[in-house]
């Protein structure tokens, strides 16, 4: 009876249903988890932006990866309407051998495949706001950077995009700062043997307030909504996404000393308008 009622309400809500899908917080394939820009927003004069992809390749075994990137003014990519910069639009494409980004990289050793790549730069052209409406100029238009991360043998490919917001606002968005990951409210020391709560240390993660213009060019204020995404390459997390003050429960799997594999938890903090930061903890075998 209870199951029926559950099905009933979930049908009503269209929210979710019982399924066997892999958890979003479970790291078991090549993924891009986030892309951090040193300046999430730019003014109309454009400029150079440094981008740092945060990735996971837990089963790669130290393989080479290739990063292809295309960047152009958004004409629907962010809305799922296009999958690439449209033909004929001013865009720039390039391809990067990931290994070349950080010779002797600390991340791509055989025991740790979760973390940030070394940064690379792109140039955002000036004058992208020219001819745009007052509302668009103030709220911003998106300059899209499309990334395709591929394994050398092509067996795994993952795609992501990042917006660089071009705006006439004088106060530009800044990346938020994530606090340290705490295990049961303490700094992590040893690999936990049972379920523990994870939370990030609060302090520097304050949401910014900013201004928006509506269709009548009236100015309205809004405060960012901060969200944390949690990932682990082993065990399971009760919540894959939390608010800043919300904890998630991690049930660890077998000890790294048994699996001979590093256990990593990574948390990414999003301000949901382009700003991102991350922290990770690892337990060596």
């Amino acid at each position: 009876m209870k199951k029926f009622l559950l099905i009933f309400i979930l049908f009503f809500l269209g929210a979710c249903s019982e399924n066997d899908f892999p958890s979003v917080s479970e790291l078991n394939s090549l993924r891009i988890l986030g892309i951090k820009a040193n300046t999430p927003e730019l003014n109309n004069s454009g400029g150079t932006v440094q981008l740092t992809p945060i990735i996971a390749d837990p089963n790669g075994g130290g393989r080479n990866l290739t990063l292809s990137l295309t960047h152009c003014l958004d004409t629907g990519i962010s809305q799922g309407l296009l999958t690439d910069c449209p033909a004929g639009s001013p865009s720039t494409s390039s391809q990067i051998d990931v290994a070349s980004l950080s010779p002797g990289a600390q991340l791509f050793s055989a025991s740790d495949y979760v973390g940030a790549l070394a940064a690379f730069s792109i140039n955002v052209p000036a004058g992208l706001l020219t001819g745009r409406s007052e509302q668009d100029q103030f709220n911003g238009v998106s300059y899209i950077v499309l990334l395709t991360l591929s394994s050398a043998d092509g067996s795994e490919v993952t795609k992501a995009f990042k917006r660089i917001i071009i705006t006439s606002r004088t106060e530009l968005n800044q990346n938020p700062q994530i606090g340290d990951i705490l295990i049961d409210n303490n700094n992590p020391s040893n690999f936990p043997v049972s379920a523990v709560s994870l939370i990030t240390q609060t302090g520097a993660d304050q949401a910014e307030s900013y201004l928006l213009k509506d269709g009548d060019n009236k100015t309205l204020s809004r405060t960012e909504k901060i969200q944390i995404a949690w990932y682990a390459n082993q065990g399971s997390l009760s919540l894959g996404k939390t608010d800043i003050s919300q904890s998630t429960i991690w049930k660890p799997g077998e000890s790294p000393s048994v699996t001979n594999k590093k256990a990593t938890i990574i948390a990414l903090l999003f301000d949901l308008r382009g700003g991102v930061d991350f922290k990770k903890i690892s337990f060596d075998p």
């Binding site: 209870k2 029926f4 009622l5 559950l6 099905i7 009933f8 309400i9 049908f11 009503f12 809500l13 269209g14 929210a15 979710c16 249903s17 399924n19 066997d20 899908f21 892999p22 979003v24 891009i32 986030g34 892309i35 629907g76 990519i77 962010s78 809305q79 799922g80 309407l81 296009l82 999958t83 001819g131 745009r132 409406s133 509302q135 668009d136 709220n139 911003g140 499309l146 795609k159 992501a160 995009f161 990042k162 917001i165 928006l212 509506d214 269709g215 809004r222 909504k225 969200q227 995404a229 009760s238 894959g240 996404k241 939390t242 990414l268 999003f270 949901l272 308008r273 382009g274 991102v276």
Partner: protein, 774 residues
Amino acid sequence: MNKVTALLLIFLCQQNALATELPQTPQDSTQDATQVSPAGEQEKRWDIKLRVQEKGSKKRLTDINVFLLPERAKSTTDAKGEVNFLNLRSGDYQVVINLTGYLKYEETLSLKENLNKVVYLEKDSYYGFESSTTGQLFKKDRVQKSLTQKEFLTLPGSGGDPVKAVQNLSGVNRVASGNSQIVIQGSEPEDTAYSINSHPVPIVFHFGGISSILLPEATERVDLLSAGYGPEYSRALGGIVNLETLKQLPTDRTESLVFADFFNTGGFIKGPAGDHASFLVSGRFSYISLFLKEALKDNENAAFTIAPTWSDLFLTYQTPLSDRARTSISFLFSSDELKFLMDEPLINDPSLRGEFYQRTQFYRIMPRYDLDLNNDNKWFLSASVGKNLVRFNAGETLLDFDVQSLHIRSEYEKKIRPNLKTTLGIDNEYDFLIARVNAATSQEIGGVRTPFDQTQFRKVQVTQKAPQIGLYVKNEFSLEQLEKPWILYPNLRIDHFRLTDETYLQPRLSADYKLTDNSLLSFAWGLYYQQPEPQKANATFGNPDLKAQRAEHYTVIFKRDFLDAAIPLESLEFKLFYKYLSSLVINSTAQIEKDGSLIFEKFNNKGKGRIQGAEINTQFRTVDIKHRLSYTFSQSFRKEPEKDETPSAFDQTHSLTLLSQYGAGKWNFGSRLRSVTGSPFTPIVGATFDADNDSYVPIAGEVFKKRRKAFTQIDVRVDRTLVKNESLWTWYVELQNLLNTPNEESYIYSYNYKEEQAITGLPLIPSFGIKGEF
């Protein structure tokens, strides 16, 4: 003596078996009393006063014959259902009433003094289809299908609900379980308009499509108007669903009803209010929330603050002002509310998290004045004043609409000549909208919705006056006097939309050709306009330059009833329809120049479409089982510039519904078989990670290229009525989805859209209910 009585009874039964014809032999009861009371007798004489009522409903039965034996006296009940036998000697008398549709009544009365007695006649059957053909009962509009209260209360598969019964009719598309909208002939859900007593209302179903917003027993009939509908209605490309509340309320007795079923409880009371006036109060309140709260008590991820709750209240007061004038005032309130807390965001849209709250409330006050100036001139004025409060919020996303609504409808009908009737009407709607919207943008391609883009979060507060003015002239011109079997309906409608600042002339022409006394051929053609949805015409979220959408309807209908023929087939209706749609509002990614600036167009009017199909409605009988078969063949396509034509979301090629019913006295057995072609859906061919919103944006494949599996479901229901003298109790047991068919309703996807899983409809569900009428 007993032999004589028996012979007399046989004689009387034969006389009344088929109809209540007056026997020739007996005389009027007063005269009889004189005859059976020879003058000069000294013994005492007594009177018998009987009031004849229907058993259970207490309805007084008028104009029926009551026989008194052995006196061979007969009398006919008056307007109060009463009959008198006067001046009788003491002794035993037998009362006999033999009325078609009722069990024969016989009772022996021992008369020793004056006797007042209520006689209860019991119906011989409490169930069964109406014999009439839907759509021919009400000849206001040829394309209109109407279901009366008796029909929708007894039609299997709809639980007695009028709007759910409409979903069994041909031309009505199947929507997924839990969807509370009506889709007509392959149109879009937003192309259907809903009204009560011809005044618009925002919804017609409560939450999840479980029940309509008006108690079925307070509903006189439900109308479905599809392709080619007349000029009284407009502003809906697809069609209209209209509920008419009870017009004939009892003035001689009070009736009440209570019911309870799996989802809700409610009831009504109706009766006289003073000498000539009458009233009705009905209401309903859901309690499914108690079960749902219990069901989700241990759920870690979702907890109800307010479980889904709905309620409605309807009050009406009617009074005649004179023989020709009458007035009424009604009040309708409907409320749906739910609130719950999600600990974790939705997997495919992390922006939707935290507290979910949905509320749809509205009320209407509806006064009406009717005046029959004379037999050839009629006029009515009806208004609807009220408010809609619609609020949805999910986390920070907020849609908050407060609409003050005034709708005025008036008609003046004049019979200009014996063969020409003209009606002038107004249908004006004045809405004053105050909206607060805090939302990110999202796009939809072929039903594939992208997650909300929080980087494009917008806030707007809108105050909008958007009156819609409608005027129409309706004509009925019969050529029968010219010995031609034609009736022509040259109609015209004018609509002005303030939102888009447009005025449209909409000719709507129809004609009937009477083939025989039992068969009719009808034709209808018309133009229809519908203003864009306000959010799509909003400067922040849409395109303020949008114009009204247009449809052109063509319909041919053949109707034949076979009630006069001794064949199992009782009625047949065959309809062909075609709709050409243009200026449809579609998504646009184009950037356009406006006021010297480059902006995203977001929406434009460049969509087109066509819908074509055929419908068959028939009623027939096999042995004692009555059947109603509805079949629709339809194709529905849409076209965007520089793209191939695609099926629409409701392109359901075949739709078949077979309702069967067997009524035996107080038992009723019903079943519904429904089989519908699976709806098209757009496959998702990949996804790109949105590194700002921490979500995956699905990539839509070919629009509506794939289809879900065909839908098939069988429902069965058993009703049993218990009849007491002054009350009726009915209980039912219903098994929905008897075969437990796992019908695909939708799909859910893994976080990166690499895996999909079908959501199936409700499994086998037993439900029960009980209803008492007093």
